[in-house]
Symmetry: C2
Subunit: 746 residues, 2 copies
């Protein structure tokens, strides 16, 4: 459900350590991959995509169930041991959604997005969700309006400096700048009684590119649906945190489910939003709050503009349908390589999620053909087509929670995809797999340029830097050196979260994008087959590329004697994160000193325009030094142990006895679970990973070393010191396990 535009631009953060090249793939492996590729067909994917996106397929819709059944039948036809696993989850559907301007004039807003003649399915909205966000809190409110930009924490600081309080008001925010669900959550936390989230044309409308149907950007009538459950607390069914939502599961009362908001919230098109925003009085919005509407943005807060917002939902439990297909491993059946993509959409879901799902189906078909030809994977391969990802990762989370013990015993890796598109490889995940990702990327040909997707990516970063576009400096250094490109850290926003952050299973999230200015159809009725095949991936060329990319990863991990991990990149990356945290402390201390000095000198008061005053920022207690020595020592030890292991493995892997190999694999299979802390992160016990987490105030965006970093950012200094110790212990244990594994190699 993540916006491909965001992913594509965030591509490839992380470290760039160079290390000895992996051994070339064995000849039989190369032949197998060639055979695999021969079964991948863009035409197949076009057909599946057209059919699966032909009707609304949100959770609990008939077509979503039909798609699950179709996927099941395909897996079976291709020889997989497949079944549907169901869960009973809380999933609200709208009974009525009302939004209307009450003052200065009465204007009815909202309602379903209109059909566009050039888009064949856009008229098939019978049974489709209207613009709505899941897990808002039903209510009926009328109040004055405050425009709060992206609705992120800094925006509330800016409001306070302009004397604006949102208590008792309806907050209008725009999409972007942070995850959707944080906007109403923060509005609610600040006392607002309702929230609107609209799509500003400067972000994904005409300010980006031509509007649909002329181009791919969001039209005046387009609305982004989505979930506003408090995902940074926990994903999955709000009623069953930490356990699977089976029929018999013990459930919270809805009123006790902390991930459900208390205030009504609706998404909105800019065609509607401009009717509100153009009326607002009050202070002028700060410079960075200006969107693409042809108005001067004001903050409002006066009674001259009033909105009526009412939402009523149907809150019964719904059945969701995860398709789970297995291909047993012949040598190591209890080591699982898991690969997934969800199948539920918000409306037709052609890009999100079906473009990724049909790529996954191609892989399954190709693996089935290999199996039919006599090959059997060494490890067990599990393919999963998840339901209910959109409301908040329900299908994957409930499955992972239900099978937690088995997964922690058997899972080697989880590889995820979601919406795909034309462009550049984007990879995020567990950094011991960084080199494998690069090795695969070197073997995949980009269909538009004929070079490897790795080479195209290196060219992109360098051209971006030369031409002054946004780019990542670490990636640039890597690209210039011609070495491995860094992969990014995983936050949230798709089905890897429970595997990685709750269970400690290594994970990767893979996709292509960045050529087309996608994002304009995201979570709207215009995310259709027509839109997707016209703009985002004509002919599904990149659908086939995604299949070949992920298929190789699955094959190489499933068939390797030991999974193709390398820990030097992990250590270097974690060392980089530590450097960022150290710098954060330093920056914060300087900023605190400067703030105090400027406050003492009255500088903010002197600097502001007295006719449009902006008050001084609030005084803050200074950031203390944080106890980072143990963490620094642990990271240094990790680096030493990782390099030693990698060198030993490179030198002696070929000589390992089968017994030693088994002991080595056992030592490594669950090593990432050492990064988990049983009590979880501060205030959110479900998230247990001490290296990667979705940010409390970024949502989908990752926070690395989260226990420490977020505590410093949020001035919870006792937490920072405590989690620096916990993280140090986890990293030291990881290093010790690497030493043990190196001992097995001998």
């Amino acid at each position: 459900m993540r916006n491909i535009q965001t992913i594509a631009l965030a591509l490839l953060l992380g470290s760039t350590a160079l290390a000895p090249a992996m051994a070339a793939q064995p000849a039989d492996q190369a032949a197998r991959e060639k055979a695999f590729d021969a079964s991948i067909s863009s035409a197949d994917q076009m057909g599946w995509l057209k059919s699966m996106s032909s009707a609304p397929n949100h959770v609990s819709s008939p077509h979503d169930k039909a798609n699950a059944d179709f996927i099941l039948s395909q897996f079976k036809a291709w020889g997989w041991d497949a079944r549907i696993e169901t869960f009973e989850v809380l999933y609200p559907t709208p009974i009525s959604t009302t939004v209307e301007l009450i003052a200065p004039t009465h204007i009815v807003l909202g309602g379903q997005e209109p059909a566009i003649p050039e888009d064949a399915t856009s008229g098939n909205t019978k049974g489709a969700l209207p613009p709505y966000v899941a897990f808002q809190g039903d209510g009926d409110v009328t109040a004055a309006v405050v425009y709060a930009n992206y609705g992120m924490p800094d925006d509330y600081l800016a409001l306070a400096r302009r004397g604006i309080d949102v208590k008792g008001k309806i907050v209008v925010t725009r999409y972007g700048g942070g995850w959707r669900g944080l906007k109403p959550k923060l509005a609610q936390d600040h006392g607002a009684i309702g929230c609107i989230i609209y799509s500003d044309p400067g972000d994904d409308g005409y300010g980006d590119t031509d509007s649909y149907p002329k181009g791919e950007a969001r039209p005046e009538t387009g609305v982004q649906r989505g979930s506003v459950a408090d995902m940074p607390l926990y994903p999955g069914d709000p009623l069953t945190p930490g356990v699977g939502a089976t029929r018999t599961a013990k459930r919270l009362a809805r009123a006790d489910a902390k991930t459900i908001l208390k205030i009504p919230v609706l998404p909105m098109s800019y065609g509607d939003a401009v009717k509100i925003l153009s009326q607002l009085a009050g202070p002028q919005a700060p410079d960075g709050w200006r969107g693409g509407l042809p108005i001067t943005y004001h903050i409002g807060g006066t009674d001259t503009v009033k909105l009526h917002l009412a939402v009523k939902s149907e809150w019964s439990l719904k059945t969701i349908y995860d398709v789970i297909a297995m291909m047993p491993g012949k040598d190591r059946p209890d080591e699982w390589v898991i690969r997934g993509n969800h199948h539920d959409g918000w409306v037709f879901g052609a890009q999100d999620p079906l473009s990724g799902n049909v790529a996954m189906l191609s892989e399954a078909k190709a693996l089935g053909a290999l199996r039919a030809g006599g090959w059997q994977p060494s490890r067990t391969i599990v393919y999963a087509s998840w339901d209910a990802e959109e409301p908040m990762l329900l299908g994957s989370t409930e499955w992972a929670e239900t099978h937690a013990d088995e997964l922690q015993k058997k899972a080697v890796i989880y590889i995820n995809t979601d919406g795909n598109g034309r462009g550049f490889l984007s990879a995020e995940g567990s950094h011991e797999y960084q080199h494998m990702v690069n090795a695969v990327a070197a073997d995949i040909t980009d269909p538009q340029t004929g070079v490897s997707v790795l080479q195209r990516l290196r060219a992109k970063v360098q051209a971006d830097a030369f031409d002054g576009r946004d780019h990542n400096e670490t990636a640039l250094t890597a690209a210039e050196a011609g070495g491995d490109m860094p992969i990014g850290a995983l936050g949230s926003g798709s089905d890897f979260s429970a595997m990685l952050q709750h269970l400690g299973v290594p994970a990767l999230n893979i996709g292509y994008g960045g050529d087309a200015a996608s994002g304009g159809s995201y979570h709207s009725i215009y995310d259709s087959y027509d839109h997707y095949t016209r703009f985002e991936d004509p002919g599904l060329a990149y659908g086939a590329v995604l299949s070949k990319t992920v298929g190789r990863m699955v094959l190489r991990i499933a068939d390797a004697e030991t999974p193709p991990v390398r820990f030097g990149e992990l250590a270097t990356t974690v060392k980089g994160y530590l450097g960022e945290v150290q710098k954060l402390v330093d920056t914060r201390r300087k900023q605190d000193d400067k703030r105090a000095a400027l406050l003492a000198a009255g500088a903010f008061k002197l600097a502001t325009d007295p006719l449009a005053p902006v008050a001084a920022p609030q005084a803050e207690a200074p950031t203390p030094f944080i106890e980072l020595a143990a963490l620094s020592n642990a990271v240094a030890r990790l680096e030493t142990s990782a390099k030693a292991f990698d060198a030993a493995y490179a030198a002696k892997a070929a000589t390992l006895t089968p017994a030693a190999r088994t002991r080595l694999n056992t030592a490594l299979r669950d090593i990432d679970q050492l990064f988990l802390v049983p009590e979880g992160l501060p205030g959110r016990p479900w998230y247990k990973h001490l290296i990667y987490a979705p940010g409390r105030f970024t949502g989908y965006g990752a926070k690395t070393l989260p226990g420490v970093r977020e505590a410093i950012e949020e001035r919870r200094f006792a937490d920072a010191n405590r989690y620096a110790g916990l993280t140090a212990a986890a990293i030291a244990a990881y290093a010790a396990r690497l030493d043990t594994a190196r001992g097995i190699i001998g």
Copy 2:
């Protein structure tokens, strides 16, 4: 005629050297300044402003002449020896201006800006100039349209990479990003046959603040007039470069005047421009080209959109009226302190130039009152109210050229003002006066906050930095240290240019601004008394502040035994410029290497979206090392000599004999003329100053060490080496003169 918004944001670039504090002002000086202040009246200024801005006052209009007569009468009434000096200049006025969309539909555009009920003079447009730019080339053309963003050199590189040629087309550019006159000049140089310059609402319209009359921003109908003479070649009358445009002057034929453009050009409102831009096809405009219109910006270039543009002007010579008033010095009558502000506007000209002119009148009245009370300045004071600044500095340039010999013998300094506004002190000029500017700023109370304007400025820079707004790092360092704030370098755009850059007279340009979001009335009919007193300086509080600021400078320089100069700041500033030039060479060399490597690797081709390709940049010969050793040695010598002089003067000035004092003043009076090079800058002999010049491709924006810096930027490497030598020689001569002056002190 410079836009106060631009000036205010550019405030205070330069160096921050700390040096021994100047001696406190003598007691009689303080008393005199107090008496001076007592004569400054915002009410006076309100009255003068209302009357002078009551009718159109562009060059050759009756009211401009009436204003000159009024100013003359006031000077005389205040006891000055005043007269009007006339010149006969080429000044075209429009006979007809036509602009209309021909395809895809016929829409008549252009015409006079409409009256606004809330603006009392906006209906008095009889005799006013319609939207027009002076010194465009008359013509009648019909052609396809290309949108070229700000129309600066980089924009043409971006067009080329998208396969768009402007030959035979009409280029539509938007205001901003560089000086107005460069836009049609560059369009013409690239083969365009016509040019439109429009005001985008993202720059000074609703994207900035509320539109007039609700707020001060440019309304949908507002148009910015201006001059498009090729000022970077030479300012003043196009027919008399280098000599005064007296009745009998030898004149060029109009066809031979190189500062007059060859193609027709008109300015435009965004209300009109959107009718063109919204129709354009062709490639999508690059990200940075997006303005505030609610459209996707395209480049055009196809025959589907055609414009008809026709301009016919009346090209006779016109008489202009400089008011020159003198107050003879009692001790040093042949040392002149000159101070000026122009009186011609584009329409009513309340802000530009009359807000500065009425502040100057207050000073003249106050000096007259001091004189009437028995005081007489030690040096001669000359006040000048220039005509015809707007068409391109004609009044000041022709006067300076006419009196060049006398000015080079007598002028000590020229202090300029132009439009003024509410906010922060902005000062630019010759850096030996930097400390004097700071000493005055420390003595002036800001009317909104009650602290000194220097303290408020220091607070502003620090608050801007803390809050993440644009700021200058050198100014920030200075503000944090609590020392002198740097002053900026002078480029062009107001009447200091001939004095400084042609004659080598030290100059300062002083103004206030930055609180109000001014710029929205600039050069339109809405630059009115109502607009100015409502938004830009209610009650003309900052008019009085400007008078007190500049009045002190005039008094302190006119009465000092030796003008209050200090050369350490000049040396440090020039050293900073040298550092920038050295860094420029280094940056260019690296960029050249990188471009060559990426071209060789085909990286640009791999990185671009094949469906919307952007070609690779053109290959460039690498930037060589430049001979900067002699220049480095000269700058080092300047630093040594300047510090030695400042120290000697601070220690021994009080003990100087009258004869030594006279010799010292003689040695220093024309020292800045040593910065002139007789042959002028490459390709533009009128500009002779080797430290400060308006940029060939920035216009108003300064280029420092221009002979070297611009040659490197434009890949004229032989020029760069040659002007490095010339500049080194000039700086060494300056240092030698300082050594001589120090010898006089003993």
